[in-house]
Amino acid sequence: MEFGLSEDQKLLQESVRGTLEKVSPLERVRAAAEKGETEAADIAQALADLGVFGMMVPERHGGMGMALLDAALVAEMLGRHVAPAGFIATAVMAPLAIAGAGSEAQQEKWLPKLASGEAKAGVAIAEAASGAREGAGVTASGGKLNGKSLFALEAENADIIVVADKAGALHLVSGDAKGLTRIQLTSIDLTRGLTELQFDNVEAEALSSGDAAATLRRMVDAGRVMLAADTLGAGWMMIEKAVAYAGERKQFNRVIGSFQAVKHMCAEMAAELEPCRSLIWYAAHAFDAMPEEAGLMAAHAKAHTAEMGRFVARTATEVHGGMGFTDLLGLHYWFKRIGLDRQLLGSPERLRHEAAVLQGWAAAD
């Protein structure tokens, strides 16, 4: 019995951390945000050099066939450095979709390119994962898609997009397909792209070789674990920044970090957030090793981390006092990253309901 990271996993996380410290410092994040750039090419290249886009791609298609826990460690670091770079869709959910439900030809065509980072993939599954707003939804008929999908992830410049239709079937759409309109949405979080996709008789390939319904569930589970890890990383960075600031800022002739009122805020943040790490590790491990628990644990990990993340985001901002509220300090990039994570692929209320349904404690909607 061993509940923890292997030496390889620790090394992986450290190398991603070291790279992101260099390529995604706050100035770089700010520059990208001010240009509306949610996929910074230099950061994507540095991540590609580390091989992170091939983590979840099977080895026979040029990837590394790693575990979801490995990917969660990367997602945590991306959140920590509020990196304006795609990962959750292009490196985790899309490869799972294509490897899980794609034909051999589809896999051969796309997986090696995704693994190398040469091609990017988005996913449009918000309606399946968190419910349809404004009557959104996509219908498929005769190889054509119609309707709209809101809140597609990493889809703005993607070469291909994995789309879930209203019936839960999966489709592969080319980014430049005729009849596809991509409308960039602006969220509080300028480090990640959210796109509305409008489909007007758009040609699509079905991803129908495997069990599409099971594949969609696995995409959602994996995506939820990634978002939880992203919040964990962002939240811990906020705690560290709060502790550092409280150690420097003086009022009443003392550093404010020596006031118990401030220290206790920091202690509470750490005490609330740190157990999320174990929950995320377990959920990620369950995804690969205990599939019967995967859905429940992914839902709980995301819901609980979102709740603790919200607490950390507001508390760390308060520790910074007025400075925390300014744009100058840039703390808000983490605040907003956590804010977006919370709503994507299911908000805590919805996820807890799903967790109850999965245990037979509530009727499915």
Binding site: F3, H264, A271, C276, S278, L279, A289, H300
Partner: protein, 397 residues
């Protein structure tokens, strides 16, 4: 990450199951309130014989003498919980005094006290807190003055559970009044039958007297009954407090409690509707379930770190704070799900679970305060875990 135990441990699990199958019927039905019942003592002896209690205590001191193996300990706990069988005795003598003597006692002290303590024949109480010394324990004032080969003790202790039934006390007293506060304390062990000791029950908000006050008036104790040296008491006590904090906030207790609430919410109805079908109560249940899972997995993480001799840092410091609060919140949900029935107490008609949810809700608050208050825990987390500065000492007038 590997949550399987592997063949050696699965074989060990089979042994434990075999023991439970053969001897489970000998488990005590009545445990005794302050002192272990005869049945409990017999069960304890059987468990020690098979290595399911006092497992790592050397044979020469009455233990089983196995090598420490935290996974085997966990397997024993898992299997006993599954079979709903009581584990061995858990009291302050076994969990705090015995490890302290093993680490710091003389050979004579070990030989004399460990075995009867393990067997439940000698019951101990802990004399640490005083009315004026709670969070600031090192300020304690109970005085032990030299008189020939003895100390003469005067002072008062509080929050002394089982003092009324205890044979012996391990007690912090001030022997060096001129030394700095942390360096003037000694750790003494002596009989509660010694003349000059008065025990008064301390009734708490639960309506029960779970604690006592203990008064010392010219209590004469031989100087040789000190553990470690004179003035070493603070360091000895910290060695034992470590053992106490390990016991508080156990996530498996929260897991058991959660299961009870799930059952309760399936059985209890309001307006004919089961509580589990009520979305608001159910949402609270789900929030707490996530917390229970998180703390259980957190416990596994700490277990792994311990067995690999790694320092888990801040991860260990948060357990008492989070675990005690979680247990308290679980009791609160059970009470709220029961509504008016949840406030019934004593021997009332319509009472559920003997009023234990209210009792736990109140007693848990005692645990949040005791063993280092939540606020002291937050100081520890921020100072030792996050490296934040200590509160500056007020300037002396």
């Amino acid at each position: 990450m590997d949550l399987a135990y592997g063949p050696e441990y699965e074989a060990f699990r089979a042994e434990v199951r075999d023991f439970i199958q053969k001897h489970g019927d000998k488990a005590p039905k009545r445990f005794g309130v302050s002192r272990p019942s005869e049945e409990s003592i017999a069960w304890q002896k059987l468990l020690i014989e098979h290595g399911y209690a006092a497992r790592t205590i050397p044979k020469e001191y009455g233990g089983y003498g196995a090598e420490p193996d935290i996974l085997k300990s966990r397997i024993i706990a898992e299997e006993f919980t599954l079979a709903k069988l009581p584990m061995g005795l858990a009291n302050q003598g076994i969990s705090m005094l015995v490890p302290t003597l093993l680490e710091l006692g003389t050979e004579e002290q070990k030989k004399k006290w460990i075995e009867p303590t393990l067997k439940g024949e000698v019951v101990w109480c802990q004399g640490y807190s005083e009315p004026g010394s709670g969070s600031d324990l090192a300020s304690l004032q109970t005085r032990a003055k030299e008189d020939g080969d003895d100390f003469i003790i005067n002072g008062q202790k509080i929050w002394t559970s089982t003092a009324h039934a205890a044979d012996m006390i391990f007690c912090l007293v001030r022997t060096e009044p001129d030394a700095k506060k942390h360096e003037g304390i000694s750790y003494l062990i002596f009989s509660m039958k010694t003349p000059g000791i008065e025990v008064r029950p301390l009734k708490t908000m639960t309506g029960h007297a779970e604690f006592n006050e203990v008064f010392f008036t010219d209590v004469r104790v031989p100087q040789k009954d000190i553990v470690a040296g004179r003035g070493q008491g603070w360091y000895v006590a910290n060695a034992t407090l470590k053992h106490e904090r390990g016991m508080l906030g156990d996530p498996n207790q929260a897991g058991t409690r959660l299961k009870e609430i799930v059952d309760l919410m399936h059985e209890e109805t309001v307006d004919g509707m089961r509580l589990i079908d009520h979305p608001v109560y159910r949402d609270r249940l789900m929030q707490l379930q996530a917390r229970v899972f998180a703390m259980q997995f957190h416990g596994l993480r700490l277990l792994t770190a311990t067995s690999k001799k790694e320092d888990p840092g801040i991860a260990r410091l948060i357990v008492k704070l989070q675990g005690c609060e979680l247990n308290h919140q679980l009791a609160a949900l059970a009470i709220d799900a029961l509504g008016e029935i949840g406030v019934l107490y004593g021997n009332s008609p319509h009472l559920r679970a003997h009023g234990s949810w209210q009792h736990r809700y109140m007693f848990d608050l005692g645990l949040i305060i005791g063993g280092g208050t939540a606020q002291i825990q937050k100081n520890i987390i921020s100072e030792r875990g996050l490296g934040m500065p200590r509160e500056p000492k007020p300037a002396k007038a």
